[in-house]
């Protein structure tokens, strides 16, 4: 097959080129996962406690404990998600690598980038983070969304992935 092409490619596993997500993103990921799961888990727990008129005091305690355990688990998953996500940009493509148990490495060739979205929520603004959405003309993976990028990194990616001379293209 095409051996000369293979030679030019740096090995995908050269770890030094892979960039981690921003350290601040870890706290944001964990805090958000914990809060949301806790709030959502509290609803059924609350219903359970309210179901009986004279439920003992430890029912409430147990419900809170259950909700925080679930939230803790969600936070753990979020932490792992942060730890196992990497990205890399070379001359050819943007790569995003996610997960460990279910590993997935996405490759978006730079010539296939249609447009980019730049998103920043309140927490992301507070911690200098950004979410980048890379759109292609594909179908199953028409948008690659990556949150937890350092603002500077995200801006850099935005600027390089769609060069200025192509910005005003249709």
């Amino acid at each position: 097959m095409n051996t000369e092409i293979t030679k030019e490619i740096p090995a995908l596993t050269s770890a030094d080129e892979w960039r981690k997500l921003a350290p601040a993103a870890r706290n944001v990921f964990v805090a958000m996962a914990f809060l949301w799961t806790f709030l959502i888990a509290l609803v059924p727990a609350g219903v359970f406690v309210m179901a009986e008129d004279d439920s003992p005091w430890w029912y409430l305690f147990g419900a809170l404990m259950l909700a925080s355990t679930m939230a803790g688990f969600a936070a753990y998953i979020a932490f792992n998600r942060w730890r196992n996500t990497f990205w890399r940009l070379d001359d050819e493509a943007l790569y995003v690598r996610r997960g460990k148990t279910w590993f997935k490495q996405i490759c978006v060739p730079r010539s296939r980038v249609q447009h980019l979205d730049f998103e920043r929520g309140p927490l992301e603004r507070r911690y200098g983070l950004a979410t980048l959405v890379v759109h292609t003309a594909g179908a199953h993976e028409r948008a690659v969304r990556q949150s937890g990028l350092l603002l500077a990194d995200a801006e850099y990616l935005r600027d390089v992935l769609v060069p200025k001379d192509r910005r005003h293209d249709e």
């Binding site: 490619i9 050819e92 279910w102 199953h140």
Partner: protein
């Protein structure tokens, strides 16, 4: 992605290079009919529920209003053909002006149903890339106008053919494939689309008249059983007659499918003019649609059990010319070659690809243990389901475990056929057991790649590569090269990425 200027301007300073044109004078009739079709349900309900003499008139007022609106629409819809673009003015209250450059129009589709043919008119749709709605929908043009417009746009999209007069263009037209009636019948038998229609029909009936239908089914089943009881058939007799009833029903569905295929695919022809394909088909409603070859994004060739009996294969394509074309019901181009013999199919595909890369000679095998992976996943699932059901439901549920040998056989047959190929311009994969499928795409048509590796994959040291193309059907399975050795998957991904980056842009 549409970049048409849509403006609400009443008086438009348009250079009068050519005179304005209108739709066919009878177009209001077709617009009205279409709207009546949309309102048919409420109108019928009004007719049947509105008791008393006065109420029965209400629907008529609605119809009259729609008729007036349709006539207004006819008077306000005008189009003009300029050098490089088409200008469409429309709108009764909300005026709109639309500039459609010819270069953006990817497909001109002309539809003629029976009524259209009676009045010698046609419905014309101009479709652009990536749009869900057609850029312009002309309901209806006279057949001469429709063909003139088609010719014009085809000429602009393909400058080589443009220089030639339309007569010369027709002479250049090359018929690639045609279906004789016997093949249309085979197609009906194979694709069994009648089942879909019947399923949809039954669903709709239950939805609209749920209770009454349920009662009807109930009583008819009861009377059937009563009738069979009165025949004193006994248990075996009942089973035999039930089996016969099922066979009869399946036969009926196949016959219905054949009729459907005859309606849709009668006089099918696939022609080629330069770099453009045109499909024409239909018994009562004639349909004609064309698309540039480079618009084809991915191919799927399939061969089911019945295909093999008739020595045929089918070819479907994904095109980037908008979802409007990929919509199953009105996509003459999705089933690009409904059926053809394998050798002929190979020749056709080689023509579409414009290279000598098809048929592929260098198929490469997947991971050595691919069959184990293909077997284990569903086997584990059924094992778990069988055990749980046997414990909690009934010991007979353990019969589910009988599926497992079948799964084993399936995995073995699957792995004998499964392979992938990576040539200079092409990436391909073949899979399947009872029905087989070949999927392939030109590498420069790929939009994105991803490599995936689950827990089981890691144990075997394998990974799958998912290939994303434009216009891929979201409902169908993903285009992927499954279960490659991990190292090989990495290398393939890197090679594809390089080729995509260095190759020409797909559009």
């Amino acid at each position: 992605m549409t970049n048409n200027q849509e403006q609400a301007i009443v008086d438009l300073p348009v250079p009068a290079l050519e005179k304005q044109r209108r739709l066919h004078p009878l177009s209001w009739l077709f617009v009205l009919l279409l709207q009546l079709k949309q309102f048919a349900f409420p109108l019928i309900i009004l007719l049947f529920t509105g008791r008393g003499d006065r109420n029965e008139l209400w629907p008529l007022i609605g119809v009259a209003a729609l008729a007036v609106y349709s006539i207004f629409q006819y008077f306000t819809y005008r189009y003009r053909v300029l050098d490089s673009e088409l200008i469409v003015r429309s709108g009764v209250f909300q005026k709109s002006l639309r500039h459609i450059p010819f270069s953006r129009i990817q497909n001109v589709s002309i539809t003629q149903n029976v009524l259209h043919r009676l009045f010698n008119v046609a419905e014309v749709k101009l479709e652009a890339a990536g749009g869900v709605k057609p850029e312009a929908q002309m309901r209806v043009l006279s057949i001469a106008d429709a063909h003139e417009l088609e010719e014009l746009i085809r000429g602009h999209a393909n400058p080589v053919a443009a220089s030639a007069a339309s007569e010369a263009a027709i002479a250049n037209m090359e018929t690639l494939h045609q279906l004789p009636i016997i093949d249309v019948v085979k197609l009906g038998l194979i694709n069994n689309r009648g089942m879909l229609v019947i399923g949809a029909g039954v669903g709709a009936l239950f939805q609209t008249a749920g209770k009454a239908m349920a009662n009807l089914v109930n009583s008819s089943v009861k009377s059937l059983f009563g009738w069979s009881d009165s025949l004193h058939l006994g248990a075996t007799g009942t089973i035999v007659s039930l089996a016969m009833a099922i066979v009869f029903f399946l036969l009926l569905v196949r016959i219905f499918s054949v009729l459907l295929a005859l309606l849709q695919y009668y006089d099918f022809s696939l022609t080629r003019l330069g770099k453009r394909l045109t499909v024409q088909r239909g018994l009562l409603s004639r349909l004609r649609s064309s698309l540039p070859l480079r618009r084809i994004q991915a191919y799927a060739m399939s061969e089911g059990w019945l295909h093999r009996r008739f020595n045929k294969r089918s070819l479907q394509v994904d095109s980037a010319a908008g979802t409007a074309i990929n919509d199953e019901s009105k996509s003459p181009l999705r089933d690009l070659v409904p059926i053809a013999e394998p050798a002929e199919m190979d020749k056709l595909i080689a023509q579409f690809l414009a290279s000598d890369q098809w048929p592929i000679r260098s198929w490469q095998s997947l991971h050595r243990d691919a069959w184990k992976r293909e077997f284990l996943m569903p086997a584990l699932f059924f094992m778990l389901a069988g055990i749980i059901a046997a414990i909690f439901y009934s010991p007979y549920a353990a019969l589910i475990l009988l599926v497992i040998p079948v799964l084993f056989l399936r995995a073995k047959v699957w792995s004998a056929h499964a392979a992938f190929a990576h040539t200079e311009h092409l990436i391909a994969v073949r899979e399947g057991w009872l029905s087989r499928e070949w999927r392939f795409a030109e590498i420069n048509k790929l939009q994105g790649l991803s490599l995936r590796e689950g827990i089981l994959d890691r144990r075997f040291g394998m990974a799958s590569i998912y290939l994303d193309t434009a216009g891929a059907q979201l409902m169908s399975s993903a285009f992927r090269i499954p279960y490659l050795p991990r190292e090989q998957a990495n290398i393939l991904m890197a090679q594809l990425s390089t080729k995509i980056s260095n190759g020409p842009l797909p559009f």
